[in-house]
């Protein structure tokens, strides 16, 4: 196993809502490890806390409404990120740990050229002069596969297509060769064909630069193709974690089961039933259900599920902590019979 880069333990990020809606417990105790060269996927529906988790890693959560609770622990190569002074934190952002966002159009400053925006991180972190930084920006444009880089370096974001803008975002994030890249739904705003290109690009860059990648997505197809390990999130918590092949072969949490069953399959004959969907809706972060948070929507739920919240239980693959599931079914496997129709 390659070296451990990032350790997150019991991360909790809460938001204070206006008008007395209560506290939104967006991230409520998330833990995971990230090793060098590994791609970790965080999967879940909107509202499950995956984006807030990623923003919390770089402490980009806006402080007035949000705050990371003491007791949370984020360690990058042995340094606790949550106690760093602002200056030291800034030295890490964009430099050792970088992030790309979902919407490339609004995430790029419209009044500066893409070249300037890419070069900026290099100027700030590596103290390159303007000429050298510009050359580096052109290098990065080549690296991410943008044609005609010498001209494109002076283009403005609105002059580029969506796919190219996302490549520029990637170039901007990688210019200082970070050890960890966080990609928050990098392809959601793009066409399917461009999606494939971007994912391929990320894959190639990861191999070339030896980075670790945290890929956040709601798309299981992307997970299957590019990710080594998966973290399934629901209601602010991790409900299942496993290697990708293991997760797809043996999904143990009812939510994961539901997600996988919702994907229409092309390789089996058309069922004459309706497409599967998980009944109900994601609850509001201000009022997570008691006990197991998924129990209102779970086809197997019984009394214990409403009363006690399950901890992460080992699924028993032999390799400790390689497949963990937050579900009482692991303690009482006999209960795995549907009480509601599939």
């Amino acid at each position: 196993m390659s070296e451990l880069l990032l350790r997150v333990r019991d991360l909790k990020t809460y938001f204070v809502t206006e008008q007395g809606g209560g506290t939104a417990r967006a991230v409520d105790g998330v833990s995971f490890d990230l090793h060098a060269g590994e791609t970790l996927g965080i999967v879940g529906e909107s509202g499950c806390g995956k984006t807030v988790t990623s923003l919390s890693l770089l402490r980009l959560v806006p402080e007035p409404p949000g705050h990371i609770l003491p007791g949370s622990f984020i360690e990058l190569e042995g340094r606790n990120l949550l106690v760093l002074a602002p200056k030291q934190l800034r030295a890490i952002r964009g430099n050792e740990m970088a992030m790309i966002f979902q919407e490339p159009m609004t995430s790029l400053n419209p009044v500066f050229t893409v070249g300037d925006q890419i070069a900026e991180a290099a100027i700030v972190h590596q103290r390159l002069g303007r000429r050298a930084a510009r050359a580096r920006a052109i290098e990065m444009l080549v690296l991410v596969g943008i044609p005609d880089p010498e001209t494109r370096v002076d283009a403005y974001p609105h002059q580029l297509s969506g796919g190219m803008r996302q490549r520029v975002m990637i170039a901007m994030a990688l210019v200082c060769h970070p050890k960890v890249l966080i990609a928050d739904e990098p392809t959601t705003a793009l066409d399917v064909t461009i999606q494939a290109q971007i994912l391929e690009l990320l894959d190639r860059l990861q191999a070339e630069l030896g980075m670790a990648v945290i890929l956040i997505t709601h798309d299981l197809g992307i997970v299957a193709g590019t990710v080594d390990r998966v973290l399934v999130m629901y209601a602010g918590e991790v409900v299942e974690t496993a290697t990708t092949p293991e997760l797809f072969a043996r999904p143990l949490h009812p939510y994961t089961e539901g997600l996988l069953a919702s994907v229409p399959r092309l390789d089996t004959p058309l069922p004459r039933r309706r497409l599967h969907s998980i009944p109900g809706q994601v609850p509001a972060a201000t009022a997570w259900p008691s006990g197991c948070r998924f129990h209102p929507r779970c086809p197997y739920a019984w009394a214990r599920c409403a009363a006690e919240q399950p901890p992460l239980l080992d699924a028993g693959t032999g390799d400790p902590a390689s497949h963990l599931v937050r579900c009482w079914l692991l303690a009482e496997p006999a209960r795995r019979t549907r009480t509601s129709p599939p």
Partner: protein, 324 residues
């Protein structure tokens, strides 16, 4: 970009032309005779006919229109009925004073408004912001001339810090060295410019506060922080550069306000500018001056908008490429 500029200038020219035509139509279609100020001074009908002929008012309309345009093109704006001098001369004397007042007020407006707006946004929803919010609301709602009167009363009469009117000291000015003359002018400019400037700044501050708050919540600001840029750079370079764009628009929009304000403020402070000239001319039914002042004001507004559009295109690359 050049093509766009040419189109914009042509459009501005068209607007000025339309204003000129409109004033012509107004002059000739409005009721009332310029030479009959009332029953108190009856004029011999023969004299009226002669005057009408002299001013060319008895020719057919299109002919008058053509003559009007030609005269305008030559800078002849007619003769003032009451002042007995060419309108163009009277305007030429008055306009620089209005420009000085408007310029000083605009500078105060933009600088103070920008500072206040940014400060308020930086302290959004906390006490300084809320307090200043009420102050700007108040200043934005007062009649400009009333504020002028108040400032005149407090700083002119009671405290005696500033003079109560005029452009220069009528007695002393001519004998001062050039530095003293400049200071004298500035001293007289202070209160009127402050009046106009503060009211304008209040509006600008409210606008700018909203602009900064909107920009600060944009994704690209988050990206800038994610890159590890120092907060000062995030604010000054990324945020402000975008938040200043609306200010350019405001600059263009403030010309009508400044000119309207000029009419009133100049009357309060006896400032011999275009506005006072027009206001005084009303009572004397001296239309040539009123119309010429209106045209001059329109030209300033149009030029101001043109300048603002050009500045905006320079500042915002998204406008440049696609044109208007």
């Amino acid at each position: 970009m050049a093509a766009w500029l040419v189109r914009r200038v042509a459009a501005s020219g068209a607007i000025v032309f339309a204003v000129v035509t409109f004033t012509f139509l107004l002059l000739h279609l409005a009721p009332g005779e310029p030479f009959l100020p009332g029953a108190d001074t009856p004029i011999d009908p023969a004299v009226v006919t002669q005057l009408r002929h002299q001013f060319g008012l008895d020719a057919p309309l299109p002919v008058q229109y053509a003559k009007y345009l030609v005269a305008l093109a030559h800078g002849r704006l007619g003769e003032s009925f009451a002042l007995h001098r060419p309108v163009a001369d009277a305007l030429a004397d008055a306009i620089p004073n209005t420009l000085a007042l408007a310029g000083a007020a605009l500078a105060l407006d933009l600088l103070l408004g920008l500072a206040l707006g940014v400060y308020q946004a930086a302290h959004a929803r906390r006490l300084p912001d809320v307090g200043l919010g009420y102050v700007t609301l108040f200043l934005n709602s007062v009649p400009t001339f009333w504020l002028g009167l108040l400032l005149l009363l407090v700083f002119g009469e009671w405290l005696g810090w500033f003079p109560v009117g005029g452009v220069v000291d009528p007695v002393v000015h001519a004998s001062l060295p050039w530095a003293g003359r400049a200071a004298d002018r500035l001293w007289h400019l202070a209160l009127p410019a402050l009046t106009l400037g503060c009211v304008g700044a209040a509006g600008t501050a409210r606008y700018q506060r909203a602009a900064v708050l909107e920009v600060v919540s944009q994704d690209y600001v988050r990206t800038a922080r994610a890159k590890g840029l120092p907060e000062r750079r995030v604010l000054l370079v990324h945020t402000l550069r975008n938040a200043l764009l609306p200010l350019v628009t405001l600059f263009g929009l403030s010309f009508p306000f400044l000119l309207t304000g000029a009419v009133l403020v100049e009357s309060v402070f006896a400032w011999p500018g275009m506005g006072k000239l027009a206001a005084d001319a009303i009572f004397r039914r001296d239309y040539p001056i009123v119309l010429a002042a209106a045209i001059a004001a329109s030209v300033m507004v149009v030029l101001g908008n043109l300048l603002a559009d050009v500045l905006y295109a320079v500042a915002d690359p998204r406008i440049r490429v696609h044109g208007e």
